[in-house]
């Protein structure tokens, strides 16, 4: 195979986000004041990591996202992952669940159980966690618009297992702002959505002290085509917005901020990603202390989950995705992540097979146990290049904060399509660079194979949709319909009163087996729905 060919097009020397990179970095490249800019790991401003001993003290949590078909099938995959050494659960829901439709809704046709597990009611949630002691695992749930409902279902399953909700550990994504910005799984307009989020933050601060009520997510912003600096800036701006709403509600910043967590992408540009995580920690600590007056050290710590970049996976020569994922995962680890999901190599084609998921998990285990990178905290700290890049990403983030502030804040900027336009612009620029050959994607625009061998992929049995529809309809037939009506009436009543916390009525409705779609419909009636003006 010829590997010495000269590129016919000049390749770019900037990062994949367009930050110019010098041929050499020297002590003059980054004027670092150690105490002010870095600090020891576990010390303000936490640039070098949130814990003093980092991975020597405790490895990151290997948390593979899983979910497909019915609750029973996903329950089996969960048990498989726990048996193979996974240390936390992470639930993917199907599109109808994410969008607040029951499986038998007309809009759900063809989508039930396709991209995640279908959950229509507490009944399904009981099946999903059957035989898994909720007092002993930490569970992550990736859901946003209907997050309050899924959290209530989870707390109810805990009650049934005899685990008080104060003892439940886990994270629910709940980050509705990035839905308007990037992933677009929104239901209600921004203001009532933010009120529901703030209700959850308040409820968790008072009743679920071990739960993370929001995972402020840059992952989807990046997947939508943003640059690293945009991912950093928009995510932090979203985080500050949740803080402002909770303070406005009357909560003390130190009562909820320690439970806020973050979720970032781990993309291919190795050093840029590491710099991004380091800059994120430094900005969060400074702003939380200086602008929002946080005093508890835990309010200043940015802890984050990361996931390798789905968008970097190619359908061509899919096996090389294993290499991409390993490099991305290594960046997340060197950047000090608290938990990590590694994508499976077949995910540009379909949901992953069990063996592909195993390789992805093994990739993390190799990094953790064979490479030695866990032996010292922030091993790249002090690298002239990494410090200069950290400073540059921080500078770009503050520039964006100023711009967002001038527009009137995150919600105003969403309504003006500011984020959506910035991301569309960046994603088109990158795609054009790939198509001109200025950026190489191995197997796609160079080093292609003539004949791609076929890969065995996971197929979702279409019969599952019918089974799930029958399941939710049977549930509607056997529950106490008077209790359901009563619970829904109370939900609507309280939704119309902004000063009432909705978590209590949602818990009551969950226990009455009100479906997720029915609850969302009640809110739709009161709050209306959100539609964006599409821009490209």
């Amino acid at each position: 195979m010829a590997t010495t060919e000269r590129p016919s097009v000049e390749q770019l020397h900037s990062t994949m986000s367009g930050v110019e990179v010098d041929p050499l970095y020297t002590p003059e490249s980054a004027a670092v004041d150690y105490a002010r800019d870095l600090g020891a790991p576990g010390e303000f401003p936490f640039t070098r990591g949130v814990y003093g001993s980092m991975y020597r003290g405790r490895l990151w949590t290997m948390r593979q996202f899983a979910g497909f078909g019915t609750a029973a099938e996903t329950n089996e995959r969960f048990r498989y992952l726990l048996d193979h050494g996974q240390t936390g659960l992470s639930t993917a829901f199907d599109m109808p669940t994410l969008m607040g439709y029951d499986s038998d809704h007309a809009r759900s046709l063809g989508e039930v159980g396709r991209e995640g597990v279908a959950i229509d009611s507490l009944d399904d949630m009981e099946t999903l966690f059957a035989g898994i002691p909720l007092g002993e695992v930490s569970t992550s749930m990736t859901i946003n618009s209907p997050a309050a409902i899924l959290l209530a279902y989870y707390a109810c399953v805990g009650e049934e297992q005899g685990v008080p909700r104060a003892a439940l550990r886990g994270t629910i994504q709940t980050d509705i702002l990035k839905e308007y910005i990037a992933q677009k799984e929104y239901i209600f307009p921004p203001e009532p959505s933010m009120r529901l989020v703030t209700d959850m933050v308040e409820f968790c601060a008072q009743e679920m002290p071990l739960w993370h009520p929001i995972s402020i997510s840059g992952y989807h912003i990046r997947e939508a085509g943003s640059t690293a600096a945009q991912e950093l800036a928009f995510t932090l701006a979203d985080g500050f917005t949740y803080v402002e709403w909770a303070i406005e509600r009357g909560l003390d910043v130190d009562d909820f901020a320690p439970r806020l967590s973050f979720f970032f992408n781990a993309h291919l540009d190795f050093f840029e990603e590491i710099a991004k995580y380091r800059a994120a920690r430094r900005i969060w600590a400074n702003v939380m202390r200086d602008k929002y007056g946080a005093k508890n050290e835990r309010s200043l710590l940015m802890r984050f989950h990361s996931q390798t970049a789905g968008v970097s996976l190619t359908a061509q020569q899919p096996e090389i995705n294993i290499v991409r994922t390993a490099v991305e995962a290594l960046a997340a680890v060197l950047g000090g992540t608290q938990s990590l999901h590694t994508n499976s190599f077949d995910e540009a084609l379909a949901l992953p097979t069990e063996s592909a998921v195993r390789i992805a998990l093994r990739t993390q285990q190799v990094i953790a146990h064979e490479t030695g990178v866990v032996n010292t905290a922030d091993p790249l700290g002090g690298s002239y290049f990494v410090e200069a890049l950290t400073d540059e990403l921080e500078r770009q983030a503050y520039e964006y904060f100023d711009q967002i502030e001038r527009i009137g804040g995150v919600v105003a900027a969403i309504k003006e399509n500011f984020f959506q336009r910035e991301i569309a612009e960046a994603s088109f620029r990158y795609q054009s660079e790939v198509e001109r050959g200025e950026r190489v994607v191995v197997g796609v625009n160079r080093f292609q194979l003539e004949d791609e061998p076929e890969l065995e992929i996971l197929k979702i049995d279409p019969a599952l949709e019918t089974q799930q529809i029958e399941r939710v309809q049977a549930l509607r037939g056997r529950r106490d319909s008077a209790a359901v009506e009563q619970a829904l009436a109370r939900l609507k009543e309280d939704a119309a009163h902004e000063n009432r916390n909705l978590m209590g009525p949602i818990m009551d409705a969950s226990r009455a087996y009100v479906t997720m779609g029915e609850m969302c419909d009640a809110f739709r009636d009161v709050w209306g729905v959100w539609r964006e003006t599409p821009v490209f």
Partner: protein
């Protein structure tokens, strides 16, 4: 001057992954076509309605939710019912090889999967839509 090629780009299904749809919309516009982007969460009925209202030559359906075998044939069928079977139907998304064959058998002109260059889609439309 011959009329510009008119293309509807539609996001079918419930998923919100619109990076691809927006890149394609912009590339087609840059190539001189008239592009109508529907925005998200379109039902087959809405897609067909827009296609007919806009008198489009082609409709590009972007779908990454796994519901392509349910939603795409429905679009083809509705176009046929409304006498618009001459509209070229093109699909983009994470579509497994077996499903590509099945979709083409049902009247889809072509399917573009991740990694397809926008130039290939531009050329395809230019070659298949009569000037």
């Amino acid at each position: 001057m011959a009329g510009k090629i008119r293309v509807v780009i539609a996001k079918a299904g419930l998923d919100g992954h619109d990076r691809g749809a927006k890149i394609i919309a912009r590339a087609l516009r840059d190539a001189g076509m008239e592009v109508i982007y529907t925005g998200l969460h379109q039902t087959p009925e809405q897609i067909v309605e827009t296609t007919i209202q806009e008198d489009a030559d082609a409709v590009g359906i972007s779908i990454l939710s796994g519901a392509h075998m349910t939603l795409v044939p429905k679009v083809v069928e509705l176009l046929r019912e409304r006498g618009a079977e001459d509209v070229l139907v093109v699909v983009g998304g994470t579509i497994p090889a077996d499903d590509i064959v099945a979709l083409k058998e049902q009247g889809v002109a072509d399917v573009f999967t991740p990694g397809a260059p926008t130039s290939a889609i531009v050329e395809f439309l230019q070659s298949r839509v009569p000037a």
